[in-house]
Symmetry: C2
Subunit: 358 residues, 2 copies
C-alpha cells in the first residue's frame, strides 16, 4: 500500500503522524529535561521507529530505552549505541544470543530485580565485554516488577559479586495512570529512589544512573535524586494523556484516519476497530478513543473492525481522525505510518520494530 | 526465529497451537453444523491462516468469511473460491481495486446495510462480473451495523434496482457475549432473520442465504430460518469462551507460552503482556487471560510486556501456557504460530493475513 501522496487519498484505517506536531513534541521534552538538569532516554516502544529515534537523539537524548531484546537489536543495528533494556530479562539461550548481537554495536544497560536473573546474565559471559551494565529495578508503588527500595543495596552487592557491573537504579511509577495519582506517584518515585540510592551507598556502590519517569507523572518530577527520565508517549500523545490532563489535544501527533461505513439514528460506525486502535481502556477513560476534530464525540463500543461513535453526526464515506487511547498499543498493530508534512505532502515510514515483542 | 524443534526450547512469548485439539475442534463444528442442516462458513479473521482455512474447507465448510478486503485477497490468492466479506464496505478507489483483484479468483458475497454503500459498489461495475452478490445486514440486537429486520426488503429492492444481485441476509448476534444473554441472543437472531426473510419475500426477493451465528450463541441456534453460520473462535477457543461457559478448557487449542521473569510474595510476572495477548477484557472476565495448567490462577493486571499473575507460585524461569482472553486479538498481534504435533515435534506456521486489517 505504498502509493499515497496525500492523507485524503490514503486507504483507511491507517495511522497518520502530523510531522510538525511530532517535531514540536520532541523539542519541548528535550527543552523540559535540559532545563531540569535531567538526561533524556526516551522509550522507543511507543513509536518503534528508527527515524523518530534519530530525531530524539539529535535533539539531545543520551540514548534510548527499549522493552525487549528484539527491539534493542533493531535500534542497535540502526546505529543507536546506548540502549537501556528496562525489563527484568530472563536470559535463556535464544535471548542470550540476541543480547550478544546487540552488544556488538552498542553499550547496553539491563534491568535486574533478582539475583537469579543476574546469575543467568553473568553465566553468559557477556559481562566481560565491558559494554554491559546493570540497573537495579525498584518498585516505587506500581507493584509490578522491582525490589523494595531498602533491598536495592543488598541485591546490587550480590549482583556485583556475581560478576556484573552495577551503575545505578531505575523505576517506573506506573501508578501515575490515574488523574488523582499523577502527583503522588511522582512523590512515591522520589522517595523510593532516594531510599534505593542510600541503600546502594551503604554497600559502597555509587548510583551513577537514577532513572525514572512516566508521561503522566513527569511534570511533577522532583529532579534532586533522578539523573534521567524515560518518557515514551510524549512524542505522539494519546487519548489517555488527553483525558488524564497531561496534554492538550493540539499536541497530539498520532491519529488513525477512519471512514464512516454505517450509521443509525443514535450512532455511526467507523472502519477502525480494536485491531487498529488497540483495546486499552483505563478506568478513567470516557470511551475507546477520541475524535480529534469532534471533542464531544465518544467511542462507546469497539469491535475488531467497528468503532461505535456517539455525539457526532456525519455522512457515510466521511473521514475522521481517531485518537487511540494508548498510542503504544496502536503503533504495535501497524506496519507503517503515513507522515503528513507541513507542505501538504505525505509519505510512509515503516514501524521498524513491528512485532519485536520478545 | 525459525529454528525451534520443540515448544520447550522456543523463545517466549510465542503463540502455540495444539494441532490435535485444533483438528478436533474443526471436526466437531463440521459435525455439529452437518447434523443441524446448516452450511458452515467459518470466519477466518480468528486465525488468518491459509493452512487452517484449508482444513476447515476439507472438513466440509462451504466457503470462508473475512472482515476486510485485504484478508479476502490473501485467501483468494491461496485458492479459497467462495468468500463472504461480512462488513458494510465503503468502496473508495483503493478498496474497489482490491475487490476487483479478489473477484479475479473468487466468488464474493459482500455485506450491505445502506443504499449509499450499495450505490458505491454498483458504481464500480464489479457487479457485472457475475461473481459479486450482496447480503443485506440485519441488526438483530447487537446494535452495531445493520438495518432493522422489517426494513430489509425495501433496502434489498433498492439495491437490486441499483444493479446488484441480492441473495439473502445476514446478522451477527454479538450481544451473545455475556453469560446471561447467550440463549436470548440466539432467540433474537432467529426472530430478526425471520422478519427479514419475510420482508424480502414481500418485495419478491428470495433469501437463498440466511447467515448468522456467533460462538457463544451457537449451541442455542434455531436452524429453521438459518441456512449457514459463521463461527470463528471455535477453532482455538479462548478465555472468554471458557468463562462464558461455551467450552471446556480441554478444547483450547491456542496458548501463549510465557516465562516467569519476576516474582514477589503476592504475585509473579510473565513476559507476555498486552502486545502479545491483546488487552480485551469483557465485563464478565475474571482477568486478562487464564493459565491453562493452573485454573485457580488469575491475570490481575496487564502491561505492554508484563502479566501480573496471582493464585499460583512458580520459580523464575518457569514456563506457563497463557490462554488469551480473545484469540482473534492475540493472533492479530503475531507473525507466526508454533504448531505442536501429536508426535512431539513442532514447526512454525505463518499468520498469513497478519496486518490485513483494511
Amino acid at each position: 500500500m505504498k502509493p499515497a501522496s496525500t492523507v485524503a487519498r490514503a486507504p483507511t484505517p491507517a495511522l497518520v503522524i502530523d510531522e510538525t506536531v511530532l517535531d514540536a513534541n520532541i523539542a519541548r521534552m528535550a527543552d523540559f529535561t535540559a532545563r531540569a538538569g535531567l538526561s533524556l532516554r526516551p522509550h522507543v516502544k511507543t513509536h518503534k521507529s528508527i527515524e523518530i529515534a534519530r530525531r530524539q537523539l539529535a535533539a539531545g537524548a543520551v540514548g534510548i530505552t527499549v522493552a525487549t531484546l528484539s527491539e534493542a537489536l533493531i535500534f542497535s543495528e540502526a546505529g543507536c549505541t546506548d540502549i537501556f533494556v528496562a525489563y527484568p530479562l530472563w536470559l535463556d539461550e535464544t535471548k542470550a544470543e540476541m543480547l550478544g548481537r546487540v552488544l556488538e554495536h552498542s553499550s547496553v544497560l539491563v534491568g535486574v530485580d533478582s539475583l537469579e536473573g543476574a546469575v543467568q546474565i553473568a553465566g553468559t559471559g557477556l559481562g566481560q565485554t565491558g559494554r554491559l551494565t546493570v540497573l537495579i529495578e525498584i518498585d516505587s508503588g506500581h507493584h509490578r516488577s522491582g525490589v523494595l527500595p531498602a533491598e536495592a543495596g543488598v541485591l546490587a552487592r550480590a549482583v556485583r559479586d556475581a560478576g556484573l557491573e552495577v551503575t545505578g537504579v531505575f523505576t517506573f511509577p506506573g501508578h501515575s495512570y490515574s488523574p488523582a495519582t499523577r502527583q503522588s506517584a511522582a512523590q512515591d518515585e522520589h522517595r523510593a529512589l532516594s531510599v534505593a540510592v542510600a541503600s546502594l551507598a551503604d554497600q559502597g556502590i555509587d548510583a551513577h544512573v537514577v532513572s525514572g519517569g512516566s508521561t503522566p507523572s513527569l511534570e511533577f518530577t522532583e529532579p534532586s535524586v533522578l539523573t534521567e527520565v524515560r518518557p515514551g508517549v510524549y512524542v505522539f500523545g494519546d487519548a489517555q494523556q488527553w483525558e488524564l490532563g497531561t496534554i492538550e489535544p493540539g499536541t497530539i501527533a498520532l491519529t488513525a484516519i477512519a471512514t464512516v461505513v454505517s450509521r443509525s439514528p443514535g450512532h455511526l460506525i467507523l472502519d477502525a476497530g480494536s485491531k487498529v486502535l488497540g483495546a486499552d481502556r483505563g478506568a478513567y477513560s470516557t470511551g475507546y478513543g477520541r475524535l480529534l476534530d469532534y471533542p464531544d464525540a465518544r467511542i462507546s463500543a469497539l469491535s475488531e473492525h467497528h468503532a461505535t461513535v456517539t455525539g457526532v453526526a456525519l455522512e457515510r464515506g466521511a473521514r475522521v481522525r481517531v485518537v487511540p487511547n494508548h498510542s503504544c498499543a496502536a503503533v504495535n498493530l501497524a506496519d507503517e505510518y503515513l507522515v503528513a508534512s507541513p507542505d501538504g505532502s505525505a509519505r510512509w515510514w515503516p514501524v521498524n520494530a513491528r512485532g519485536r515483542n520478545r
